[in-house]
């Protein structure tokens, strides 16, 4: 069972990373528009020429 000593922290670290990623995306305003991005992906306008 010694394997738990590093497996459990890894599992928790992964979970916390995901949580922080979510918090970042929330703060970044990614949940303000749930419709637009689906269409925006089809547009080339954001490609800097």
């Amino acid at each position: 069972m010694n394997v738990l000593i590093y497996l459990v922290p890894i599992a928790l670290a992964l979970g916390i990373t995901a949580l922080f990623a979510f918090m970042w995306s929330l703060k970044n305003g990614q949940y303000e528009d749930s419709e637009g991005p689906a269409h925006r992906i089809l547009s080339d306008e954001d490609v800097k020429k």
Binding site: L12, I16, L19, L26, E32, D33, E35, G36, H39, E45
Partner: protein
């Protein structure tokens, strides 16, 4: 709206940004497809000085950032208008900001609870399977401590919405649903920590956090729907785009958004404009139509010194008005006072969920306490007895009960939203479901808010079309009514407007005139009823008189018949003259119709109905209806209603038709039935789970299965709700496609 010549002052909406940039939010109308997004953003990005243009397709709002020294707000709005998109500067109301902030907060709590419950469940499942096989006590303790490490901070953070609300309710002396929830979670966590310290086999960390996750999901959905409704309402308010012509210090006119007017400002009201604020006339005289204020359909002549109210339509003369705050003794002051008094009655309404909680909480707590006493008397150890008592609290923790009502509300609000009905109050649905009597205002509610041509059938079609096209060039309210009939919406070239008389143009070499009888050299026409206004037409040798009146909403007769059939008792209370009310009541077959009612009399009439034990729904739009809207058990307003009336309404509907009234009532009844079913499901669930818990058979595994099972059942039950039946009507289809767009009628106005 504006001809591009006047100066418009948008400075109150422009926010400075870093590096000499400025930004502004705009509410947009005319966005009806995803391709528009690309179009708008490309158009705006091409304007010199624009740094970024980003359209939010969920709220239909555009955020522009530009170099402050290269372009300005008016130029950008004009650029949008050229592309065919009406845009109005927009500022989030404080209420909406608050909603947005709360939505984000709930989403954060939800994320934390989700993270915690997943990780704890991972550990718990290991313990459960280990308990059945060969887990060592050391490993189990290690897993329990890990769970505690995750659960305690997570619950402290994610439980805040419940803990705060429970504390507030305790202070107010009325326990709400959040009290048993908070108590259950706290006790479950405490017991689990103690059990873990004592090397016990079972801990309830997973139950406590999962409970939070489910409840937060319900809260978040509820909140998200409310925020969306609020955003739509905010856009509609902005898109009305009410502008006022403010007289500046140098005497020049500057167009400013109505919201920034202050008492003491001097404004100029042109013929054909709505008066944008309450005030006193300084100079000028005109006929004004106060139907939005008092319900009176006959126009009144006013001169300097007269008090005028926001929402009145100025007909034929230019007015200079000094803006005043609601002064003592004015009608508005009276209305505000009545509203305040009338609103008290409604605040006494107790929501279904709170009523359930009031019965539920004591039963649960008494059951848990007696379980404890029972097991102590039976000779069980104190430790064992406490564990069983707490498991009773956990298993009864109202997962299903707390989801029962919000789940239905979210589904119902979604259906209403698509049908163009926006809820202002969370408990409006419950109150709407109990309605048995409906009181309608006449002007602007049963009738359309803007006048319409009523004798189109009697006129030659080609003549009428020419008149309608000519009318497009005039700002006069009567001309506006005629212009709505235009099929070809391109105005004639070289139209001359003669102030106070009419408009003329040369069409195919023939003189075409629309206006007063003298202007058109027409014989005076005898109107078919006293509230009809006349506008004359001359085209060469031909002439005609067009009758214009506020006409019934197109489906009023059918909707009234439908409502009566469903057993609603219908009344009309109007501020208009009894002679004007009577024929309309006859047409709608409504027996109880009263005219000439003051706001106070309307309240008295509603109070009288209430005294008979009736639950009254008030449907009205005028400022004079506001107190009655506040006093009634539930209330609805059309989107064209005065702001003061809309603020009192439980829901606002966006349609030229009256059908939304019936839809709202139907959906409310359906959702109430579902809420009740859900509450009963929760009760039945408890009837099975509680005896098991009292008997001491509930393990964390059973608790987890029971809680998620019951939550899923009530959610699925809520989803059974059928939406409003889709009717084959282009107008409704348009409304349901984009609840953010104003109807075609509003566009023109």
């Amino acid at each position: 709206m504006n001809d591009g010549l006047e100066t418009i002052d948008f400075s109150s909406f422009v926010r400075p940004a870093e590096q000499g940039r400025a930004s502004m939010d705009l509410a947009l109308d005319g966005v009806d497809c995803a391709a528009c997004m690309d179009d708008i953003e490309r158009t705006m990005a091409a304007v010199a000085g624009v740094v970024s243009a980003r359209l939010n397709l969920t709220t239909y709002r555009l955020r522009l950032i530009w170099e402050a020294d290269k372009t300005d707000a008016s130029a950008l709005i004009n650029a949008l208008a050229k592309g065919g998109y009406r845009a109005y500067p927009f500022e989030q109301s404080r209420v909406e900001q608050e909603e947005t902030r709360r939505t984000q907060w709930l989403l954060k709590c939800l994320a934390v609870a989700g993270f915690a419950s997943m990780n704890i469940m991972l550990l718990s499942v290991s313990v459960w399977s280990g308990n059945a096989t060969d887990i060592t006590p050391e490993t189990r303790d290690f897993f329990h401590w890990l769970s505690a490490l995750i659960a305690l901070p997570a619950a402290a953070y994610a439980g805040q919405p419940f803990f705060r609300s429970a504390l507030a309710s305790m202070r107010a002396g009325k326990l709400n649903m959040d009290f048993p929830i908070s108590l259950g979670i706290l006790l479950a966590l405490t017991m689990s920590v103690v059990e873990t310290a004592l090397h016990g086999q079972e801990a309830y960390f997973d139950s406590a956090v999962m409970l939070l996750l489910f409840l937060l999901a319900g809260r978040y959905l509820d909140q998200a729907m409310r925020k969306r409704t609020r955003a739509a309402a905010g856009n509609l308010a902005a898109l009305k785009g009410e502008m006022a012509q403010r007289v500046g210090a140098d005497g020049a006119l500057v167009a400013v958004p109505v919201g920034v007017l202050k008492a003491g400002d001097q404004i100029f009201v042109r013929p054909g404009d709505r008066i944008p604020a309450d005030g006193v006339i300084l100079s000028g005289s005109s006929e004004i139509d106060t139907s939005l204020v008092t319900g009176e359909t006959l126009r009144a002549r006013v001169g300097s010194g007269a008090q005028v109210y926001a929402g009145s339509m100025n007909f034929d003369g230019a007015l200079s008005v000094q803006v005043t705050a609601a002064g003592e003794g004015t009608m508005l002051d009276e209305v505000a006072r009545l509203v305040e008094k009338a609103g008290e009655a409604r605040s006494r309404y107790m929501r279904l969920a709170d009523r359930a909680a009031r019965v539920y909480a004591p039963i649960v707590h008494v059951t848990a306490a007696s379980t404890l006493v029972f097991w102590l008397l039976m000779g069980a150890g104190a430790h064992h007895a406490i564990i069983i008592a707490i498991s009773v609290l956990i298993i009864t923790c109202p997962c299903a009960l707390a989801l029962a009502v919000p789940a239905v509300q979210v589904v119902a609000a979604g259906h209403l939203f698509r049908a163009g009905i926006f809820l202002n109050n969370a408990d409006a649905l419950e109150r709407l479901a109990e309605i048995d009597t409906i009181v309608f205002d006449k002007t602007g509610t049963l009738t359309l808010p803007d006048p319409n041509v009523v004798n189109a059938w009697a006129l030659e079609p080609d003549l009428l079309q020419r008149a309608a096209r000519l009318a497009l060039s005039s700002r006069h309210p009567l001309a506006l009514a005629v212009s709505r009939l235009a099929v070809d919406v391109a105005p004639f070239d070289q139209v001359e407007e003669v102030t106070g008389a009419g408009v003329r143009a040369l069409v195919d070499g023939v003189d075409l005139r629309l206006g007063s009888a003298e202007f058109c050299q027409a014989q005076t026409h005898q109107p078919s009823s006293p509230d009809v206004s006349l506008i004359y037409l001359r085209f060469g040798a031909r002439q005609a008189a067009i009758e214009i009146r506020q006409s019934l909403r197109p489906d009023a007769v059918a909707t009234m018949a439908g409502l009566r059939q469903r057993g609603f008792d219908l009344h009309i209370l109007s501020g208009d003259r009894p002679e004007a009310v009577e024929p309309l009541a006859h047409q709608l077959a409504i027996a109880q119709a009263d005219g000439g009612m003051t706001p106070a009399q309307k309240i008295a009439a509603i109070e009288a109905l209430r005294a008979q034990g009736r639950k009254v729904l008030m449907v009205g739009d005028g400022i004079n209806d506001a107190p009655a809207l506040a006093a009634a058990y539930a209330s609805l307003s059309p989107i064209t209603a005065a702001d003061l009336a809309q603020a009192q309404a439980d829901a606002v509907f966006l349609s030229d038709r009256l059908a939304p009234v019936a839809h709202a009532l139907d959906l409310a009844r359906q959702s109430r039935a579902l809420m009740r079913q859900n509450l009963w499901i929760a009760v039945i669930y408890n009837a099975f789970a509680v005896p098991l818990a009292i008997a001491g058979y509930v393990t964390p595994l059973i608790a987890a299965a029971a809680m998620s099972g019951s939550s899923i059942i009530v959610t699925l039950n809520a989803l059974r709700m059928r939406g409003v039946a889709r009717e084959a009507s282009p107008e409704r289809a348009a409304n349901s496609a984009s609840p953010f767009s104003l109807s075609a009628r509003e566009h023109r106005a």
